[in-house]
Symmetry: C2
Subunit: 455 residues, 2 copies
């Protein structure tokens, strides 16, 4: 595998991959009762021996084909580009994609088209990190502050952060970075687990998994709430009794409530000492989150997994609407926009605790938090990455969580690559699993879906 300065992107292959997770109610919450965790997946092919870039949008089933179509609509911007130039400046492609005026109409910078841009941009970063021979977090942490600033689009956020202010934050982040990188390789990055708290689980399963989480070294768990208050009171009491008073317990309503309902419901659960209330209402409602936060303190307010772009994150911070910023690796326009979001969070001093789970979100987002620790915020205090023990076996470089910490990835790339066997089996509707399932057969390889959590 050697760098070829004349190499080009030769193809963008796409795959509609779906896992039948709804059959076990894993991932069930008040708004998403039956998700089939899915990925609109792409591979950037090159004529440079052995180098490929992998990326994806996470979806929960129906519509994954629409997401694939959106990725395919970007093909013309990518095929034929110089691999060396693309990897030297992913921001140039990012700007071309969000700047395509005809495609921009379909957002702008939100929804299906924006997530497709994120998948393509992230695939470029995967390719760039593989060519550099570094895990992505290290590529970012090693980069010059000036270059990182060049990767950010400051349009619409310049009233909150300027390129000069960003440069200063990143220069300060260089101080002590080598020591933090060594510490990261030794100890990993703190995680919390959502595995016990899915809404569809029995109390017995909740207790068993909550106790297991504590035994496994986690210091924070999360429970889904918002469907029925009496149930939530019972489940929160049950979980609190299972884990004891010293474990942080977050609650997550998945946008179920109006503003007034969010306040009332959160107060009703306050006796169980929730650490944060997550997605209490629409992710679009900046002012609503600000109202809720004022009313439910000291319970913290967290959101972000459905926040569409840097402009909404900017306002959540400007309005003092959140205590915890939950960026998502694949909802916004990829690493470049997440750099802007990390810089905004650092500017306002708000901790970033990324959303993960789904398919491959843990694999991606660990790199962003680890870069943030080594070379931007410089701390892991009050920072945890979500961990859900689903579907990791489908990845070539899966996350490893030990003693409640993500182990630091060391293989080159963005950890985004799935096994070819997974693609062959779970491509919808023609892959081995689905072809058999749709034909009414009991598909072989059922456990390949990994739908039974093992945590």
């Amino acid at each position: 595998m050697s760098a070829d300065p004349t190499a080009r992107i030769t193809a963008v292959d796409t795959h509609d991959i779906r896992f039948p997770t709804s059959r076990e109610l894993d991932g069930s919450d008040a708004m998403n009762p039956d998700p089939d965790y899915s990925a609109a997946y792409l591979v950037l092919r090159t004529c440079e021996g052995g180098h490929e870039g992998h990326g994806f949008t996470f979806t929960i089933g129906r519509g994954n084909d629409v997401q694939v179509a959106a990725i395919e609509a970007l093909r013309g911007h990518v095929v034929g580009r110089s691999v060396a130039e693309l990897c030297a400046d992913p921001g140039a492609l990012y700007r071309d994609l969000i700047g395509d005026s005809q495609l921009r109409w379909l957002g702008p910078e939100k929804g299906v088209m924006h997530m497709a841009i994120g998948a393509v941009v992230n695939a470029v970063w995967d390719l760039a990190a593989k060519r550099e021979g570094k895990p992505l977090w290290q590529l970012l942490a090693d980069a010059e502050p000036e270059w990182l600033v060049s990767q950010v689009d400051f349009r619409y956020i310049a009233d909150a952060i300027t390129p000069q202010a960003a440069l200063e934050l990143l220069r300060r982040g260089k101080e002590g970075a080598a020591e933090r990188a060594a510490e990261l390789l030794r100890s990993g990055y703190p995680a919390y687990t959502t595995s016990p708290g899915w809404l569809g689980y029995s109390d017995e399963k909740l207790i068993r998994l909550a106790k297991q989480a504590v035994a496994d070294g986690f210091t924070q768990i999360k429970l889904k709430v918002g469907a029925d208050l009496a149930d939530d009171v019972r489940r929160c009491r049950t979980a609190r009794q299972a884990v004891g008073p010293d474990i942080r317990m977050a609650i997550d309503a998945n946008q179920r409530w109006n503003v007034a309902e969010a306040i009332e419901w959160t107060r009703a659960l306050a006796e169980f000492d929730p650490y944060w209330v997550e997605e209490p209402t629409s992710p679009d409602d900046v002012l609503g989150h600000a109202t809720i936060r004022r009313a439910v303190a000291p319970v913290k307010v967290a959101t972000g997994e459905h926040v569409q772009n840097r402009v909404v994150f900017k306002q959540l911070l400007q309005a003092g609407a959140i205590d915890v910023l939950q960026l998502d690796s694949a909802r916004v326009a990829g690493v470049n926009e997440n750099l802007a979001i990390l810089l905004l969070a650092a500017t306002y001093g708000v901790p970033v605790c990324p959303h993960a789970g789904g398919v491959g979100l843990c694999e991606l987002v660990q790199h962003l938090s680890m870069f943030d620790y080594v070379a931007l915020s410089g701390t892991t205090e009050d920072r945890v990455i979500e961990y859900v023990d689903h579907l990791h076996q489908h990845f070539v470089d899966p996350v490893r969580v030990q003693d409640g910490h993500y182990r630091t990835p060391t293989l080159p790339g963005f950890s985004a690559q799935m096994h070819q066997d997974t693609i062959d089996t779970f491509t919808y509707p023609t892959g081995g699993f689905w072809a058999a399932d749709l034909a009414g057969a009991d598909p072989a390889g059922r456990d390949l879906a990994g739908t039974e959590p093992t945590a």
Copy 2:
């Protein structure tokens, strides 16, 4: 054509329709230099003799295929439904579509998937109005307040408007409605025109079209700005001289600026007495619009054509961020969500001046403003519907503008239906025009595109 209580929706036909408008720079602005006005178009087929429902999403070219794919992803929710039930309660389908938990992940309630829902919901309203034998504005104006309230989803807006408050607004709107309906049929609804002000036009063309607009009875025109300040100063001076001091002249930046740039640029153009500044920055930036509005008064701030849903409109009103609300007929989830937006505007006393132009947006939105006048706000004071003289000849029931007013439509339906010949000619890439164009021929029927404004 008779109502059949057992009739079902039998098919959802879709069409990718594109017009080559970029070749004349019609529709050119600072963010959209070369739009090919397009429609992701659908027809609801029924087994009820003669009744069909037509709807579409407006796009500006590339990505129209993605939008079509999103409409197709909704097919399973629609085919097989009872026509009578669907038309008696379009809100039931609207709730099913925005509530599909797997599809919801692709927004939520924004972008490609949300616009697809809007197209389908609007097609149902077209069908319902045809079955009732009324133009849509009249169907809405004749409806009982209780039923209209049942068509609105109050989730995420209940902190600004409750069902009870909406009911009171609509009951008050009934007073004098018959007189206003008669007045509407006599005089039509005020319009303003954007036709003179496209960024790609020469000064000579700007002067000619601006003078023509005044001669045609318009009392407001609009100029695109934001690409180059010196050019904008010259074009605003030229236009102001052409129309004189008594004609309102709006300026439209199409999201080109950061907050500080918007303030600076608008102040630099203030000497030409702009009536409003439109889309000064990102449509997502509620707080930014509020800052801009405070700084540029008495120039008014207008936005809405890219505002994704009722939640963002709610906040723009709560924050006092806009003077003029520019709803779009096909950006949000159709008539039902626009009812919510009209009710929010009425609650805050902010005039609605809808976005139009594009393909068929004038045809649709006139119905919403006319309903608002007859049965909700009860006034046309400071209210105008945008008018652009593009592509109307492709519609079976095109808008008619006389003396600066939209004439009131009287044919049953939502005016959404295109001629079959248009569909056959401009379907991309297989229709007559595109097949010839892509084969390198000079396509016959070039003027079918209607790309030369006649105003």
